[in-house]
């Protein structure tokens, strides 16, 4: 694979990661924030795949599989937490959960 293609793939990963970051910072809906975190994890996986493909090694795909497992575990716990917050607060607004009451 050419170097230019890898550079553009890394550029795509950077753009997707930036879009995910903007989503986390800009939106206050908890589900959309979790989806933005998924976008960022996916962009990290894309960077691994691009680097692994550049040098023809399978390590990039191994790292992508590990990121996949991490994303699955993270989204399961995150969605359970969101359900819990919704039962307690009755809203999906992240700013409604800004107080801790021990």
């Amino acid at each position: 694979m050419s170097v230019v293609l890898m550079q553009h793939a890394l550029l795509l990963a950077m753009v997707l990661f930036a879009l995910g970051t903007i989503g986390v910072l800009m939106r206050r809906n908890l589900i959309v924030m979790l989806m933005s975190v998924e976008i960022m994890l996916n962009a990290a996986g894309l960077a691994f795949i691009a680097a692994g493909s550049r040098w023809g090694q399978a390590d990039g795909q191994v790292m992508f599989i590990l990121i996949l497992a991490l994303a699955a575990a993270e989204v399961a716990v995150g969605l359970a937490l969101i359900l819990r917050l919704y039962q307690r607060l009755g809203t999906l607004d992240a700013d409604a959960a800004d107080q801790m009451r021990g």
Binding site: L5, L12, V15, L16, M35, L46, G52, I65, A72
Partner: protein, 174 residues
């Protein structure tokens, strides 16, 4: 063949931008699925067909189904009925359908042109990935399995329905 990469990359960026500017969560979810499918085509073009298949099956399939289930459970009542009315207007789904039609055309083109090999001159086969996963990375695989087990237990504990009604009193967690 690099043109397929750029088209898929453009579709991925547009779909991701639609995710973060879409006010409706279900529409954002639809655009996110399209974004993952576009990234899967990027993986295929980069010579990683196994990762592309996993992206479609796990990301666009399993994880998005989790989101859909939670959205079903969080049915927001009257607002949802208002949303249903807006969903029936045709212009809502024209954008996502167009993006996925581009992806479908690209997919058919890639398969028709060269069904066995990927676009890139470097092709990393699933065999190499598997040999590496259960060779040098065996400890990482075990750690990932422990992480998934912890995630399962944590999600079960958090998602359990509380019979004592501790939530309404805002009180003590067990």
């Amino acid at each position: 063949m690099t043109i397929a990469f750029y088209i898929a990359a453009a579709v991925a960026v547009v779909a991701t931008a639609l995710v973060i500017i879409n006010l409706n969560v279900v529409h954002a979810l639809l655009c996110l699925v399209i974004s993952f499918l576009a990234v899967a085509i990027v993986f295929y073009v980069l010579g990683a067909p196994f990762a592309a298949a996993l992206e479609v099956i796990v990301y666009a399939g399993a994880i998005m189904v989790l989101f859909v289930f939670v959205l079903i459970m969080l049915n927001t009542g009257g607002a949802a009925i208002q949303q249903e009315r807006h969903w029936l207007t045709p212009w809502i789904w024209v954008g996502p359908v167009g993006l996925s039609a581009i992806l479908l055309g690209e997919f058919v083109y890639l398969l028709w042109r060269n069904p066995m090999a990927a676009a890139s001159d470097v092709l990393v086969e699933p065999r190499q990935v598997g040999a590496l996963l259960f060779g040098p990375y065996l400890l990482a695989v075990e750690l990932a399995s422990m992480l998934l087990l912890a995630g399962l237990v944590g999600a079960y504990h958090l998602g359990r329905v509380d019979r004592q009604g501790a939530d309404e009193h805002g009180g003590k967690e067990q």
